[in-house]
């Protein structure tokens, strides 16, 4: 997959790196016992430590460390047995301590790899530079009062992992696939819920461009705080275009932080390097270094669930699914779990894959539900597929049934009975319907008998229509052929 921007002075390629900030799933914050639930009333989840009261001290939440290590293992990365929390010093109203506690020189996770499934069926390896733990800041609200700013400290101290990629990404699409893949991995691991709307995952994107064939990296800019895959891709497109235009016009690209304006579809400067903060990092003297043992890491490794790459391979090996279908199914762990439960019920993985990939998202969307609160159980989903397999209902009737299942209730048996959707397999009944259609359409019969064999489809449609979609299409087809040719 190549992504070339044709500029006035030649062809340009884009070099992209992502910093993903992922909220660690844990009962309490990184250094305090306060809760972390989303959507609580302002300043209701704030401990004395989070509010940086005098004399308060941070104490590391060991669960967060285990979650970070787990994520590192999921990213096939090196785990550093010794890591250090430092203070990143800057003033802001929603940063109560006046510093953020973050890992800097010695992060808990080092280099790793993420494999991307490309749309063409191939794959790409993207390097992970590091993963470190840090605490989140609070939230400043400038729109609550004409003169004042309000501060909500619920997020203050919430544990984040920053996952930094190497500058290995080359297209906006790849960046999107990478972000989705990392989200998929952390969700499989249960270390981050990956919910970008609620802010539990967001990304900073580093973008630079260079002439095709160049090997050195040019100056990069950083686009901060992107909270959807689409915005990440759009922001990269706009920023790469802007940089190419700048070079083409003989201007320089300045190393700076930029913001993406999704309304205007552009990036704009936030602060340039000359105004960059000097964060004065130094090891936090309130905390001891994090020391892990090989045994602890191995225990975490042993607890790892199956990850998307492994599940995908298993679906291909065990069920004979195509790489594409398997890839689609494993992208969300809820989807693959649903799929496997459906297969258990109906025993036909290919049919199950087809329906879970196509019908399920369509019906979820139509009924405004998500897979987490699916109104249809995989057992009932599978039962319906069984009715298709044993010819109790036609595929088209099954499509009607599933639509009802997602809206009104989930028992396919009751729906089929209620709506009288059992497939007609009684040959007498079908024959009568076939005869009626043949008798009523002499022109079409002549057309078919004159050699237009394709007209058979039209006849099948008519019979299905007259039987309310309930006739067994295979039997209809056979009977029609016999009668029309006869």
């Amino acid at each position: 997959m190549s992504y070339i921007i044709e500029g006035k002075t030649g062809d340009w390629e884009v070099v992209i790196g992502l910093e993903i900030h992922a909220q660690i799933i844990s009962q309490s914050k990184l250094f305090s016992g306060a809760a972390t639930a989303f959507g609580a009333g302002p300043n209701t989840q704030v401990s004395l430590v989070d509010a940086a009261m005098p004399g308060m001290l941070p104490v590391i939440n060991e669960e967060c460390v285990r979650q970070a290590v787990k994520t590192g293992l999921g990213l096939k990365a090196k785990i550093n047995l010794h890591s250090v929390f430092e203070r990143k010093n800057y003033f802001y109203a929603d940063l109560p301590q006046g510093y953020q506690i973050s890992q800097y020189a010695e992060p808990v996770v080092g280099e790793g790899t993420v494999v991307l499934d490309m749309p063409d069926g191939g794959s790409r390896e993207i390097g992970i530079e590091r993963l470190h733990m840090e605490q989140d800041a609070g939230k400043s609200m400038h729109d609550q009062d004409p003169k004042r700013t309000f501060v909500d400290l619920n997020r203050s101290g919430v544990a984040l992992m920053e996952i930094v990629s190497k500058p290995d990404l080359r297209t906006p699409e790849e960046a999107g696939i990478y972000l989705r893949k990392v989200r998929s991995i952390v969700r499989y691991l249960g270390t981050c819920d990956g919910n970008m709307e609620e802010g539990s995952m967001r990304a900073d994107v580093n973008v630079s461009v260079r002439k095709t064939g160049e090997t050195e990296l040019r100056t990069r800019t950083e686009i901060k705080n992107l909270n959807s895959v689409r915005f990440v891709m759009k922001a990269i497109e706009h920023e790469a275009q802007r940089q190419v235009q700048a070079y083409d016009n003989g201007e320089e690209v300045v190393q700076e932080t930029r913001l993406y304006d999704s309304q205007k579809g552009e990036t704009r400067s936030m602060r340039s390097k000359e105004f960059a903060h000097d964060y004065r990092y130094f090891p936090d003297p309130d905390l001891l270094p994090v020391e892990l043992t090989e045994d602890e890491v191995e225990a975490i490794r042993a607890s790892l669930p199956e990850l998307p790459d492994e599940t995908k391979q298993r679906l291909m090996d065990d069920f004979g699914l195509t790489p594409y279908d398997a890839g689609v199914l494993v992208a969300e762990k809820e989807t693959v779990a649903f799929f496997e439960a459906v297969v258990e019920e109906c025993g036909d993985p290919k049919l199950a894959a087809n329906w879970v990939i196509n019908q399920m998202p369509r019906e979820l969307k139509r009924s405004g539900k998500s897979i987490e609160n699916s109104p249809v159980s995989p057992q009932n989903f599978g039962k319906l597929l069984n009715f298709v397999l044993n010819d109790t209902v036609s595929t088209s009737a099954a499509n009607t049934v599933i639509g009802i299942m997602y809206v009104d209730g989930d028992d396919p048996v009751a729906i089929i009975k209620d709506k009288g959707l059992e497939q007609i397999t009684d040959s007498g009944e079908i024959e009568a319907a076939v005869d009626q259609v043949i008798a009523g359409n002499p022109d079409q019969v002549a057309d078919f008998q004159g050699g237009n064999e394709k007209a058979i489809g039209w006849f099948v449609g008519q019979v299905m229509k007259s039987t309310g979609g309930k006739a067994n299409p295979k039997m209809v087809n056979e009977l029609l052929r016999t009668k029309l040719k006869g």
């Binding site: 005098p54 010093n89 006046g98 510093y99 000097d278 990092y281 130094f282 003297p285």
Partner: protein
């Protein structure tokens, strides 16, 4: 059985007062009343920022009730003490000696003061200190300087030392039987020396820092100021202990520090670091130091000269590390959540107004130094180098402690000086801590014991340093020094 007069009650040691209460000679309420009376009389010392007489009497009565039912908690139960106003106290104004904490009443109690309360101690009030514990003379407090209850022959008002100046003055002036202090580079030991009392800085990690307003986190350590070594042992026993809320607090049990005090020092090896001889040190201090060696030799110690080659770098390195940490620790005082808050037309203006008004000169100086040494381009040259020096200093101590049990040095290079002196020369002021800072940098336990008077009639302390978490040996040797010195002089100041 006659009740001792109030003046006599205030003259007791903690040990004697505990005995008296146990015997029923007097109650904690009477003992507390006597001290509250002394506090009023000595109000001119400015030792207290916030007296808490009502709270004290309430707790004294609780103590008496416990004693009546046989539930007394040990040697600290019912003992009136003063608390340095750097310890957060539930519902009681906590200032750190700074304008910026105006009106701040914490909804929580520090671990150390909680421990003391649990041991039955009665808090008389919150004592004055250098602003954020930054000073060696108790002259940087927003609440004004503290006067030393001692006066020299010339009658001038003297500093009590700092930063725990109010605590030292309160104990020396018989307003409290003991007081909590904190020591970052000498802030317990130097004022103890200036005020003729005992000051103990335990091993870093022995006492929890939770709830103590932070100055320099890797150095701050709480400890007692008392009028006897035994009292220091009892009080430390009540203050110390592992605290899961402080990651740097040591997960080790607290021994009975008082148990082995009288075991004697025969056969102990005492190191005399040659680098602690300073040019221009007053001859009286040199003489006292030699006297201290003789006292210990007389009791069966062997004194040997040792070398701590990196000693001279300790003070400069300290004045990089401590301000660096302070500059970050004090960033939270921004006017947003508590304390002083001044308006501005922007967030930056609000910060400037609040912090400009809220911090005094010395605090600002250290915040600026600390910010500078952590800045890009200077970090390696200053902060990293200072940390390396710190490691070398700790190595020096580790090596000599392979051979000796304790080290003996003077506590401070001078006796108390007049209020107003050294104010325009920060470096001269910083030199007060030249003998106390190295042990702080290495996290070692150290104690100042009053040992004699100078020609001007002012007290001088001797300083002992021991191995990490070996407060027991430290106190045992201190007891021997105390016994030998027989220091009975007391301040005669009438403020």
């Amino acid at each position: 059985m006659s009740t001792p007069a109030p003046t006599e009650l205030t003259d007791l040691t903690i040990t004697a007062a505990a005995d008296g209460m146990a015997k029923g000679d007097f109650s904690s309420e009477e003992l507390t009343q006597a001290h509250l009376g002394a506090m009023e009389i000595a109000a001119g010392l400015n030792a207290f920022i916030t007296p808490t007489p009502d709270l004290a009497l309430e707790r004294a009565k609780e103590s008496d009730a416990r004693r009546a039912t046989g539930d007394a908690q040990g040697p600290m139960d019912g003992i009136p003490i003063a608390v340095k106003d750097l310890f957060c106290t539930d519902g009681v104004l906590t200032t750190a000696g700074s304008h910026i904490l105006d009106g701040f009443k914490p909804p929580y109690e520090s671990t150390v003061t909680t421990n003391l309360r649990d041991a039955g101690a009665v808090m008389l009030g919150k004592t004055n200190l250098d602003e954020f514990a930054m000073g060696s003379a108790n002259v940087t407090s927003y609440y004004g300087p503290v006067k030393n209850p001692w006066k020299g022959n010339d009658g001038k008002d003297l500093v009590p030392g700092g930063s725990s100046g109010g605590s030292a003055a309160a104990v020396a002036a018989r307003i409290a039987l003991g007081a909590t202090g904190t020591d970052t580079g000498g802030s317990i030991r130097q004022p103890a020396s200036f005020s003729g009392i005992v000051g103990l800085k335990p091993t870093y990690g022995r006492c929890s820092r939770w709830g103590i307003v932070a100055f320099a986190s890797s150095l701050d350590q709480a400890g007692p100021l008392t009028r006897s070594v035994a009292d220091a042992a009892h009080m430390l026993g009540a203050m110390a202990g592992h605290d899961p809320k402080d990651s740097t607090s040591a997960p080790i049990p607290v021994p009975d520090f008082a148990a082995g005090l009288d075991a004697g020092v025969k056969g102990l090896k005492v190191g005399i670091p040659k680098e602690y001889t300073l040019d221009g040190m007053p001859p009286e201090i040199e003489a006292l130091w030699t006297q201290g060696m003789d006292w210990l030799k007389d009791q069966g110690c062997e004194c040997v000269e040792v070398s701590l080659p990196h000693t001279k770098y300790a003070l400069p390195a300290y004045y990089i590390v401590a301000p660096a940490e302070a500059s970050s620790n004090l960033a939270r005082y921004d006017g947003v959540r508590y304390g002083l808050s001044l308006d501005g037309d922007s967030l930056d203006e609000m910060y400037e107004a609040t912090r400009g008004e809220g911090f005094g000169d010395e605090v600002r100086r250290r915040v600026l130094i600390g910010t500078y040494v952590l800045s890009a381009g200077y970090y390696d040259a200053y902060y990293i180098k200072a940390q390396r020096v710190r490691t070398l200093i700790a190595d020096d101590f580790r090596k000599v402690f392979e051979d000796v049990d304790v080290l003996l040095t003077p506590t401070a290079p001078s006796a108390a000086f007049a209020i107003g002196e050294k104010m325009d020369d920060p470096v001269a002021m910083y030199l007060n801590d030249v003998f106390t800072v190295p042990a702080s940098m290495a996290g070692l336990p150290a104690i100042s014991v009053p040992a004699g008077l100078d020609a001007n009639g002012l007290p001088l302390g001797l300083h002992l340093i021991a191995k990490p978490f070996d407060e027991e040996t430290l106190l045992r040797v201190a007891q021997s020094l105390e016994d030998a010195a027989g220091f009975t002089a007391r301040p005669g100041a009438t403020p």
